[in-house]
């Protein structure tokens, strides 16, 4: 299927010039190149500008509550392992409201891809500080500048030995599509953080600001299997910001460790009386 076959009819409700458009292009490209059919995919999102993204893609969709993206995706994957599951949301959804779920999704290592659009600001609620806002950044809720330092989720992911950790940039759709493809191919939990400009509320970290700082890890001989080096790259922020695959772990995924879940879920209702007879014997 061609990239345009993944376009839905839902009218897009993003601001003109939003970084999300580039991410959508990369997503269509990746889905097309992987060779998936829309019905084989399941996109789960929460609430925020990024969480609208799956509406604009043809896919199975669950769009739920702010911050609760990963638990829905977890339930979907555990109940139906055949679906190719994507969780998608922003920095507020995933790192603030859903912070605890992020931590445990990293531990759980289910076979799914988590895309985080990180624009370092709250867009849908109109310009409040985010966990990834730089210290000192002035927003509507930090008029004197943010006191807290910015959160480095990629470093946390490396520390947690996440399966696949990568960073893309909305203005580099081709590279981003390749990262998404690798993330889907990786068996286990894949985190793809996507740097994204917000034209309406973040006037510091603009598209130009990111463009001047990003570099491609592939050009610097980075070995994603080297965890210590990966940790250093994950923390790198400021004048130089790395893009590409930061870390790959050899860790086994949840389904590899739990055995064949498809088998264990195959119980059908005809078996219920026999099962109950057996279980009730344990209470006599």
């Amino acid at each position: 299927m061609a990239p345009r076959d993944f376009e839905s009819n839902d009218p897009i409700a993003w601001c003109p010039g939003c970084g999300n458009f580039g991410i959508r292009e990369a997503m269509k490209l990746a889905l097309s190149e992987i060779g998936l059919k829309p019905e084989q995919t399941c996109f789960v999102s929460g609430i925020g500008q990024a969480a609208k993204a799956p509406h604009y893609i043809r896919c199975n969709l669950f769009n739920g509550l702010h911050g609760r993206t990963l638990p829905v995706a977890t339930g979907v994957k555990l109940a139906n392992p055949e679906l190719v599951v994507f969780a998608e949301g922003g920095d507020g959804d995933g790192y603030a409201e859903g912070g605890n779920h992020f931590l445990h999704a990293l531990r759980r290592n289910l076979d799914m891809t988590y895309l985080v659009h990180d624009n370092q600001i709250y867009g849908l609620t109109k310009g409040q500080t985010s966990p990834t806002s730089e210290a000192g950044m002035r927003t509507r809720t930090t008029p004197c500048g943010a006191i807290e330092p910015a959160y480095r989720p990629l470093a946390l992911a490396v520390m947690m030995d996440a399966g696949f950790v990568a960073r893309g940039f909305c203005a580099r759709s081709r590279q981003l599509a390749d990262l998404i493809k690798q993330a889907v191919e990786h068996r286990g939990f894949s985190l793809v953080e996507i740097l994204q400009n917000c034209v309406s509320f973040n006037h510091v970290n603009t598209a130009k600001w990111y463009s001047h700082r990003v570099y491609d890890l592939a050009e610097e001989n980075h070995d994603p299997a080297d965890r210590d080096k990966a940790y250093g790259r994950a923390l790198e922020w400021g004048d130089r910001i790395p893009l590409g695959v930061i870390y790959r772990s050899g860790r086994k995924s949840y389904d590899q460790l739990a055995g064949d879940m498809t088998e264990s879920r195959s119980g059908d209702s005809d078996r219920v009386p026999e099962l109950l007879d057996k279980l009730l014997a344990g209470f006599r």
């Binding site: 969709l61 139906n80 445990h104 119980g267 057996k278 006599r284």
Partner: protein, 623 residues
């Protein structure tokens, strides 16, 4: 009629729980009915815990009264429960029995109590001692000698306790079972063999040696307890064993089995007393039953995972207590908005916040009827017994799936933790319907599936995501029939009415309230959930005194059975509500839904269950 209570008390960690379960199962296998209620503190070691096992030759439904015999594993238990003993009751307590010669002279408290230790042959029913007989058994010492570890002291104690059920004939015959098949003592021997078989022959031998040594300690003293002796004599033995034998299980087990009988495929939960045994049981049966049990990072994640699994096509549930349910509330609304069937077990305890973590109350009725913002249809079931918990859980799964709404099974610590005797579950009455009609979608044009299609019933056909050529779009935001987000006011009204239109058929699908022993009487005692047992037995007591009273118990609570309750309560001269909270939430619900104002209320909010005798007294005063 036999209706006596044997209790076991001690510190957390002394094996009170294990011993009481072994005792209860032994007596069930001997042909009795049991109701066993654990009184535990929220700690793993120390403190004071006790479990009272009520034993009867007919079905019993509520917590025990005074104790006929007590196994006291420590000194605090002796002091704590002296007032709980019936006249002439027997305590078996940790410690050395003072020698007979010293009885008359000793001035210490223990000796005075021991003076009252008499051979029951000297004493008929009419000449009981005021104070309990205290029999000292050095349980820890005997356990060390025969079992190699004082942790088997509880088995020594059980042996001593069960020796009380033996006849007080000659010492020679007392050493053996007159009828080995029928005596509770031999049933317990067999149970210990079964229980410890996997730990090896040596552990079995040690346990049996401890059991016998404990029993011999009492046998040698030729002491028996009249009521306990009757237990040994009326035991009906192997009639109750085998495939048709009675079940002994907790309310939590009944709920977990009800879920398995409903084809549950996914459970996510976070441990919280008193609901935790549900997830533990399901975790243990994952492979056998073909389900996934995932321990979530918190209760929010638990219910959201359950919603994800339901979306993916699995019958899914979670279980928690009030604090966890408070965290789940936003998720409950999302299940309703996305029109997904989820089953939530809410086992209530006492108090807001942490409250009494291991105690019982019914303070969350109104909370659960309206939890989460705005309006949406939901089911609430409040079963009164373990048997009803099994059936109500099956109903919760079936009806949640049929109407694509959330369902709550409202339990509490009393129902969840108590051990109940159940004849057996009626599997012929449980149902597992198919939630998907995929054959209807074969060959349909691609992309023609509409997740929220408007239908006459308000229920839209479900499809599993992954179905060829169709997409399933589920939303927590307001949406149109295709699952596209909308802010259109007409669509909002249409979709809200679609969801709410299920209510009438939902109400029609629920089971009628239970009336005991008949529908109408001068006084109607109205209750819900675990108050069933005490209310039923209080009604028995009052009717034996010729009071015209009947119980109306609500299991299927929400949607509230307005017409049925109005009709049932119309002939009553007086309506008295009985519930475990301080404001009368059931009374408020009854009035809101039917306009009927309760004439009197019996309320309890001390964290302890209602007791039949005192409840009967309270109702009598309000009649």
């Amino acid at each position: 009629m036999t209706d006596i209570t044997l209790a076991i008390a001690g510190q957390a960690g002394q094996g009170v729980d294990t011993a009481s379960e072994l005792l209860a199962r032994t007596l069930v296998r001997s042909g009795y009915h049991i109701f066993s209620y654990p009184n535990v503190m929220s700690r793993i070691r120390g403190g004071h815990n006790f479990t009272a096992v009520r034993v009867s030759d007919r079905q019993v439904y509520s917590t025990p009264g005074k104790f006929n015999a007590l196994l006291a594993m420590d000194e605090l238990s002796v002091r704590e429960h002296r007032a709980d003993m019936v006249e002439g009751g027997t305590m078996i307590a940790e410690g050395r029995m003072p020698s007979i010669e010293h009885h008359g002279q000793s001035s210490n408290d223990e000796a005075r109590m021991t003076i009252e230790t008499r051979n029951s042959n000297d004493r008929g029913r009419g000449e009981r001692a005021d104070r309990p007989t205290i029999l000292r058994v050095p349980m820890a010492e005997i356990a060390g000698k025969h079992g190699g570890s004082k942790t088997m002291a509880n088995v020594v104690g059980l042996g001593a306790l069960l020796a009380l059920t033996e006849s007080g004939d000659s010492p020679r015959s007392r050493g053996r079972d007159r009828n080995p098949v029928q005596s509770p003592f031999s049933k317990l021997r067999n149970l210990l063999k079964e229980r410890f078989a996997s730990k090896g022959e040596e552990v079995v031998r040690q346990n049996l040696a401890c059991l016998k040594a404990g029993a011999d300690h009492i046998r040698e003293r030729r002491v028996t307890n009249v009521e306990c002796r009757m237990l040994g004599q009326s035991a009906t033995g192997n009639r109750q064993s085998g495939k048709r034998g009675r079940l002994l299980l907790t309310g939590n087990h009944a709920i977990a089995l009800g879920a398995l009988a409903s084809g549950v495929r996914f459970h996510a939960g976070y441990p919280m007393s008193p609901s935790t045994p549900i997830m533990e049981y399901l975790a243990a049966k994952q492979a056998e039953a073909g389900l996934v049990m995932e321990q979530a990072e918190d209760e929010i994640a638990a219910i959201i995972m359950v919603i994800g699994a339901a979306y993916a096509g699995a019958r899914a549930m979670t279980a928690t207590s009030g604090g966890g349910f408070s965290l789940m509330v936003e998720g409950l609304g999302m299940a309703a908005m996305a029109e997904l069937p989820v089953v939530v077990v809410l086992a209530m305890r006492a108090g807001p916040a942490t409250g009494f973590p291991t105690r019982t109350e019914q303070g969350e009725l109104l909370f659960v009827t309206s939890a989460s913002q705005d309006e949406f249809p939901r089911f609430v079931f409040a079963p009164g017994t373990a048997e009803e918990a099994f059936c109500a859980t099956n109903r919760a799964f079936e009806l949640a799936a049929r109407f694509q709404v959330p369902a709550v099974v409202l339990s509490d610590q009393l129902l969840s933790d108590s051990l109940w005797t159940v004849p057996s579950f009626n599997l012929a009455r449980t149902r597992v319907s198919s939630d998907f009609d995929e054959s209807a979608w074969q060959g349909r044009p691609a992309n023609s599936y509409r997740r929220y299609a408007i239908t006459a019933s308000g229920v839209s056909p479900r499809l599993r995501p992954g179905f060829r050529g169709q997409l399933v779009r589920s939303l927590g935001s307001e949406h149109d029939e295709d699952g596209f987000q909308t802010e259109d006011k007409a669509v909002r009204v249409k979709m809200h009415e679609k969801r709410m239109s299920k209510l009438e058929a939902m109400a029609g699908a629920m089971e009628a309230p239970t009336c005991y022993p008949e529908e109408t009487a001068d006084v109607a005692v109205v209750c819900f959930g675990s108050t069933y047992g005490a209310a039923r037995e209080a009604v028995d007591i009052l009717r034996s005194e010729r009071v015209s009273v009947a119980m109306v118990h609500l299991c299927d609570l929400i949607p509230f059975p307005r017409e049925r309750m109005t009709a049932l309560l119309a002939p009553a001269r007086k309506v008295i509500t009985v519930e475990g909270n301080s404001t009368g939430q059931l009374a408020a619900l009854l009035r809101r839904e039917t306009g009927i104002k309760a004439d009197a209320q019996v309320l309890k909010y001390d964290g302890r269950p209602f007791e039949a005798a005192s409840l009967a007294e309270e109702i009598r005063r309000k009649c």
